[in-house]
């Protein structure tokens, strides 16, 4: 690989293929494979209705990822703003005409497809932030005034997602955006002020929350408050994970999931379904695979020779981390239940596509790590 570092740009097609992180691709495929396994088990040992479609979906998303990976970053640099604008429009559309599911407007139906614009918005926001900071000098990036536009970019998305309402995604967008701002060089005191402001605004946020959201927070703080009602999900999930023990109950042997004690076992609680059967051993393998993805992400970011690539890779990695951490912490009772899926494992189309698209961007950064990208055009 060290040969590639000093290789002159541009590179040939074969070189591009060679530069694709096949190891990372393998890890992603392994994670999706675990997803198929877990969904097969969640359906009681059947490929229908989830596992088979998950595999097919991964296949399609896999191709998308490879295509995205081979697109030159300058294209993304150009498209960042249009994509962001389109995703905002979709978000507005979903708030106005979106389909209501699980008590929230999250889906937009276009032809045969149901899409979740908030998933697209996540990636769009990472792109546009990377694009923005790519065009700034270091001293500019540190200035307060230059921090205001990206802050607005983040908060618009957060706001639109919040009203759906989708607390989990809003939180992810905020944190992922914050991560990009952090590595882009925004002064630390601004984060401090933002953090304090966030704490101060908690009571206000509380008053704006929906009843079910408040319930979730209260339940998180004290799961035994209503063990058969709002706390039921998290109590049953902890029982399933805990009873799995070191080596699990064996494939298809999970009682909590097969007897339906576990809610949402194919989506948000897929980790629980998997871990009940595969134990701490399986959990560590899955966590390890995700950790590998993160390490890969960081290493790609470090090796990119243009700032856009760095920020993009880090943004994608941060998003990946937030997905994994929020979901797993949630099912283990460390965070309130906020409805964040486990990437590549949970059943669900849009999240899979957006994650694989993001991974495509990440790999693309590696493929075009030495591309010449002028700071200003």
């Amino acid at each position: 690989m060290s040969v590639a570092l000093d290789a002159p740009a541009p590179v040939g097609f074969a070189e591009k293929i060679w530069r694709i992180n096949w190891g990372l691709v393998l890890v992603l495929t392994a994670i999706a494979g675990i997803g198929v396994l877990a969904l097969y088990s969640a359906a009681g040992g059947r490929f229908e209705p989830w596992a088979a479609r998950h595999a097919v979906r991964y296949g399609a998303a896999f191709s998308l990822m490879l295509v995205v990976a081979l697109i030159h970053p300058k294209v993304w640099l150009t498209l960042a703003w249009p994509i962001y604008i389109v995703s905002l429009l979709l978000l507005i559309a979903v708030d106005v005409i979106g389909k209501i599911g699980m008590g929230a407007q999250r889906w937009l139906v276009i032809g045969p497809m149901q899409i979740q614009p908030s998933e697209i918005a996540k990636v769009a926001m990472i792109l546009v932030l990377a694009r923005y900071y790519h065009g700034l000098r270091k001293d500019q990036a540190a200035q307060f005034l230059y921090t205001l536009p990206p802050l607005a970019l983040i908060l618009v998305v957060v706001g639109l997602v919040m009203v759906q309402p989708d607390l989990g995604t809003a939180m992810m967008v905020l944190l992922a955006g914050g991560a990009i701002l952090f590595v882009a060089g925004v002064r630390l005191w601004m984060f401090l002020v933002a953090g304090l402001a966030a704490v101060a605004s908690l009571p206000i946020a509380w008053s704006f929350m929906h009843e079910y959201q408040r319930k979730r927070v209260l339940t998180f703080l004290d799961p035994d408050r209503d063990p058969l009602g709002a706390g039921y999900h998290i109590t049953q999930s902890k029982i399933a994970i805990g009873s799995g023990g070191l080596f699990g109950k064996g494939f298809l042997g999970g009682t909590q999931s097969s007897l339906n004690f576990l809610p949402e076992k194919q989506t948000d609680f897929i980790f629980t379904t998997f871990v009940e059967e595969w134990g701490m051993l399986g959990a560590c393998v899955l966590l390890g695979l995700f950790a590998l993805v993160l390490v890969w992400g960081f290493s790609i970011a470090f090796r990119s020779q243009h700032h856009f690539g760095r920020l993009l890779a880090l943004g994608v990695t941060a998003m990946m981390f937030l997905y994994v951490f929020i979901n797993i912490a949630m099912v283990m009772g460390l965070l309130p239940v906020v409805g964040v899926p486990l990437p590549l494992v949970s059943n669900g189309g849009t999240a899979m596509v957006s994650v694989m698209f993001a991974c495509g961007l990440l790999i693309g950064v590696n493929v075009y790590r030495d591309a010449q990208l002028p700071r200003t055009r």
Partner: protein
Amino acid sequence: MKPFRKGDGERSGLFTRRALLLGGAQAVLMSALAGRLYQLQVIETDRFATLADDNRINLRLLPPSRGLIFDRTGQPLAVNRNNFRAMATSDRGRGADVLVDRLDQILGLGEVERTRLLRDLRRSRNAQPVVVRENLGWEEVARLEFNAPDLPGVFIDLGQSRDYPEGELMSHIVGYTGRVSDEDLAGRDDPVLQLATMRFGKKGVERSLEDDLRGRAGAVQVEVNAVGRVVRELDRTEGQPGSNALLTIDLDLQRLATEKIREHQSGSLVVLDVVTGDVLAIVSTPGFDPNTFARGISQAEWRELLDNPERPLHNKAIAGVYPPGSTYKMVTALAALEAKVIDPWTRLPCVGFIELGNIKFHCWLKAGHGSTNVVEAIAQSCDCFFYEAARRAGVDRISDMAARLGFGKLSELGLPGESSGNQPTRAWKQEKIGKSWQHGDTFNLGIGQGYMNATPLQLAVMTARIANGGYEVQPNLLLAKSTPREELGPPAPRDKPTAPSLRLDPKHLAVIRDGMNQVVNSSQGTANALRARDPALAFAGKTGTAQVKRITERERAMGITQDSLPWHLRHHALFVCYGPVDNPRYACAVIIEHGQGGGKTAGPIGRDVLAETMKRDPSRRTDRFRKMASR
């Protein structure tokens, strides 16, 4: 990190530092997840494993089959019959209203049932099924099955319910079962009693033998899903069915005796084996149909039974208390003889009354009996003789003798609702009435009146203890019990009492028996009209009349007689008897409520029932026992 291009180096340096910081934070948080996994899956795994099993494994008790009840000849008195019932489980009480609404549409539950079912569903723990309705007909079963998709958690269960083939005839003895109440649970920790389908003996033998009849519950471990549906069976322990019981009752005799008693408005009768204490018949009329209870009695039916002035729910043979009247004279005589204040030859005068101070105590025969000894006094039921005998013996000795013969206390029969009657003593009067015992009280006690009260069962026990030569036999209803049906059979006949002796002088007992013999078999006897024509069926007895309303001198002057009184104010008619006269085996006590003269109404019934008993001789003839074909 050399390869960064100039001009970009500044930015990339800051980026690298900050990214490393971010990566570190992510590593820490990922480790936190691993730590949490360790906590849940290693440290607390046992607790969660238990909780997971609690979730999915449900221990369901299998109600044992209740023991059957037979009469001494093997005829069934209480059996189990298949009962299709609708059961319902509700997902932690959610959706119970909707479910009950649908059931109401399909079965027509009615307001009372709706309320009960809702309450049961909400109370039910661990998704234990509750009973919707019992004894479903085929049409109801079909309707429920047809609507099954709309009735989640509802299923048809084949259980058993109690059936009483003899109905009213055995109602007071066998009793009935009902839902387990809180009082039933007191002191019993058998978990099977918590089952909604379980029934508990409420009256009669069903109650007294409850702990034998019930049996031991089996248990089945099932795996259930989140809505309580059984997925599969994990383990099964068979229970043990309840003991089958063979009662001492002779059903045919009981039927005959009941027909006799039914000729009168209300009455009761007890037939005892004087050697073993076996109760061969207990009749109390009117009775009730225990099957209405087994089915589940309606409020209206229950009201009607409670409001009936003849008290059909009341077993008068063991719970009805009456002044024993002249049937008590044997007690007075025996007390006086044992105290040696009279001897068999002592003759006492009767001029029709005896005076105590300025109060006259009348003999029933106005003209008086002249001079009589104890045998003649019993035969002719001379009141004056017993006033004097009672005066000589004193209340303490009479009460003591009465207690030895079974008065004033509960027997060992075990049937619920038995009354102990009242055997007055000095202390009793002081405590209850607040006055000291008077001579007049002793006079009244001597002829079984005044404060004295006894049940028909106690009269039968007294007669039996006199007839068997002074053995303290206890009435007993259970002949044999056994869980395997083929081992159920009557024990070998016994001819010698095993009960402890009362240590009475046999000569004195012979005198009393001679008196009772002459009541029936001497031309002077008060019940001479009842004497048996067949010498093999010869018996002895004693009539009694218990005063309900005292006819005052003024009323008598106005020409009011017993016959002109309304039914409920007339005297009770009593008769006790035993037979055969020279080798007593059976004793019988009869009370016809408001039947007036003991010899007139109660006597013929006692004679006929006793004669029938002697003919059948159920205590010695066990060949009439037939095993019921196993079902």
